[in-house]
């Protein structure tokens, strides 16, 4: 078990490094550079004095060869220093730390809603013996997946903020302000959870051991919750780990639509003005969250399925 954890941790570090390097290369390759953007903020960049530009580039280290820049940045990043924002001059770490709570609330709430309602929908759809109801319920998730998030967001705002005036349309104020964006964000994610869990449940309910349970005289609820759910939840758990990444990506859109000051908006703003240190910081942070969540998921597997550690151990033994 300890080796299993260590191995997973090593993988996590590898993923983080890869995320850093890849984002560095991509950002370096992009046309335009942040210094011109910064110097020319608000005006036509051709007006800016070239000497002043060179000076700025030197200050931020953009004049050095790419490899030197890379090693330089990487060694500082390892110490937790991602440099300063080109536009505001604040340290990237503090920019992220300031925006983080808002985004954590949003994505956390969305994940909770997605799991509860997605899982609930799947359970109910596979439990009901009404064919028509099952068909309707099972077609909901594909609908949820296929509608773009921003559109759902706009519609929900239209309905609940402007027509019914139940929740605020935008802003950061507390739980009331959180509900609409979290619901919007949860819809596509929950739909995927529902889709996968429902399919997985239907497959599991066809397994011979479910037949054994029925032969024991077990009722539907016992079979569904006692036998099928735990076996069916493994694929759903995997997808939840992956969906955290999707949640963070969608948060960019949602925070823009609902005008919330979170990581998503920081990212959107940084990208549009080519604030490379911030963008890079966000990418690495995103990778960190993603890796941690999947690590947790990996550690939960063996608790759900006693066969898993055995398999994992056998795989990594020297061949």
């Amino acid at each position: 078990m300890r080796r299993y954890v260590i191995r997973r941790l090593a993988q996590a570090v590898g993923v983080l490094w890869a995320a850093y390097t890849l984002s560095f290369l991509v950002l370096d390759y992009l046309p335009g550079d942040p210094v011109s953007a910064m110097a020319g903020a608000g005006m036509d960049s051709s007006v800016v004095d070239p000497a002043r530009l060179d000076e700025l580039k030197k200050q931020y280290g953009f004049d050095k060869p790419v490899l030197v820049q890379y090693v330089d940045y990487l060694s500082r990043a390892l110490r937790g220093d991602f440099g300063n924002s080109v536009s505001t001059g604040r340290s990237v770490t503090s920019v992220i730390a300031d925006a983080l709570p808002q985004t954590l609330q949003l994505t956390g709430m969305a994940l909770l809603l997605a799991t509860l309602f997605g899982g609930g929908l799947a359970l109910f759809a596979t439990y009901t013996s009404q064919r028509w109801l099952r068909q309707i319920l099972l077609s909901l998730p594909s609908l949820g997946v296929s509608i773009p998030t921003f559109w759902i967001g706009l519609m929900i705002v239209q309905l609940f903020s402007f027509r019914i005036r139940l929740f605020p349309a935008f802003g950061n104020d507390g739980l009331r302000g959180l509900i609409l964006p979290a619901v919007t964000l949860a819809i596509p994610t929950g739909a995927m959870v529902a889709q996968l869990l429902a399919k997985s449940l239907l497959t599991t309910l066809d397994e011979p051991y479910v037949q054994t349970a029925r032969a024991k005289g077990a009722g539907r609820a016992r079979i569904h919750l006692g036998h099928a759910l735990r076996n069916a939840s493994l694929p759903a758990l995997t997808i939840i780990g992956l969906l955290v990444g999707q949640l963070m990506a969608n948060a960019v859109v949602i925070e823009t639509v609902f005008a919330r000051n979170g990581l998503g908006r920081v990212t959107a703003a940084a990208v549009s003005i080519q604030d490379i240190p911030v963008v890079q910081g966000v990418v690495v942070f995103g990778a960190l969250v993603f890796v941690l969540v999947n690590l947790v998921v990996d550690l939960i597997y063996p608790l759900l399925d006693p066969r898993i550690v055995v398999a994992a151990t056998a795989r990594r033994s020297p061949a």
């Binding site: 011979p208 032969a215 009722g219 066969r307």
Partner: protein, 623 residues
Amino acid sequence: MTDHRTDSHGRTDSHGDADSHDDTSADGAGGIPTDGHSGDHDGGRNSDHCGDHGGTGAGLLAIRGLSVSYRTRTGPLPAVRGVDLDVEPGEIVALVGESGSGKSTLAHAIVGLLPAGGHIDAGSVRFGGHDLAALSERELRAIRGARIGLVPQDPTVSLNPVKRIGVQVAEVLRIHRLATRRSAPLEAVALLERAGLAEPEIRARQYPHELSGGMRQRALIAIAIAAQPKMIIADEPTSALDVTVQRLILDHIQHLADEFGTAVLLVTHDLGVAADRAQRIAVMSQGRIVESGPTAQILDSPRDPYTQRLLRSAPSLTVVHTAHTVPRARTSPSVAVEPSVVAEQSLVVVDNLVKEFPLPRTAGGSARTLRAVSDVSFTVNRHETLALVGESGSGKSTTARLVLRLVDSTAGRIVLDGDDVTAARGARLRRLRRQAQIIYQNPYASLDPRFSIKEVITEPLRAFGVGDRASRTARARDLLDRVALPASVLERRPAELSGGQRQRVAIARALALAPQLVVCDEPVSALDASVQAQVLELLAELQADTGVAYLFISHDLAVVRQIAHRVAVMRAGQIVETGPTDDLFTSPRHEYTRALLEAIPRWSQQRQAAASPSSGRTPSAKA
């Protein structure tokens, strides 16, 4: 028929004390109102029938005119058509038939456990006073597990993988309120012990994947007998198990039936098993029971042509069968008799082959390995069939895969056609691939469902760039002809063919490159008895025509006896005995070989022994 009189006062938690009413359960159809207090309202009806057990003619189970069909896209597909069947208390009745005959459907219909789309169209299933066919799902639940236990077909997939064995056994008692939360675990252990599991306390705490197939089947038997049911339906309870384990499990089921007077409906495709265990046999074909009666009568004077055919093709009898109906000199046995010109004739020579697999590291322990194949040596001669016989886990399939170089050996040497291929790579390995082909066990899985049969057969030719499109098609047609399939099959997909036809296609594919060696990995174990016989005959014919050598992997001694010239018996990675087929069968030297032979149903052995002299080949007396 709904008389909702509950007798909740009748019996309460005294059921928790499982042993206290063994005697009761043995003598009364209505003796155990197990769920009188569970609110399911059938205790009353049950008690109405307390009186009618034990008398003559009052069967425990009486099925009348039962018809079951499956909904399919093309309309209802009848699976069981107007079946009558009776089971008396304490009686073992075997329901025999080939796959698709409807025997499993019938067995499951009794307790209302039909798969999705299955529906009872007509008929009644009288059991202890109820018509099970007319009960609601809720009412049936009180019957399942409590009055009728089910032992499923494949123990390896029939236990919930994420729950401990003890919990799964205890669950029956909890569902039917025969034990309290506290007493259930202890009773589960007692039940596991009664089902014949050693160290039941440890087993109860283990998960299914930690137990062998035989142990899992015992756990499932514990589940089936937990509530002391009047009847057990055993659906092919041993077909997924090794022969020696099969016998133990069947012995145990029989023992339980004797001891507790439990009736058993034994569903099986194996006439040998039925003959050994059942008092009565019902033969099923195409959804109908074509013949039923006392076991001796069915076996000695079958009236129905289908029963007669089934008896002829029962695998254990096929030696006789082949000898009689295929009097060609070229079928297998005649070749075996020749003490072939050994030295130059050897096609495959395997020397001291070893294969080790790493095992999971235990806490603090050093790396361990599993020796799947340990120091195995054998020779396969040209034109010859060498059978590797053993139970699952004996290493026979691994050995075959080593010979084909599908896995790499840890140590040892493999020589094919004078060429040491132990470490062959690249072009040499490709050459080996061309010379050695394989036929897999399951023809349902080994053919690409998206390929047409033509594509399946010509794939090896395409892979090796043999001929052009036209000549490959001609070759495919020729090969199909050889395996006795019409050319019209060429454009069809595997799903449109029967199991036997698919295995013929797999054989055609294996022969496409005219290999010198074909490894047959349990090639007939997924097929019905009558189809088995045909495929084996085909293999023998093809060998006579093409001179191909077979390395024939099987757990089924009866099959091996029919096809092999020589037999190597494997156990725990080692070959314990090798010899010409007849010698091995008539005078086995190793005790394990003897155990394997003894595991063949007694009836089949008798038939074989009785028929052996008449085959005229080996007059050697039974040792």
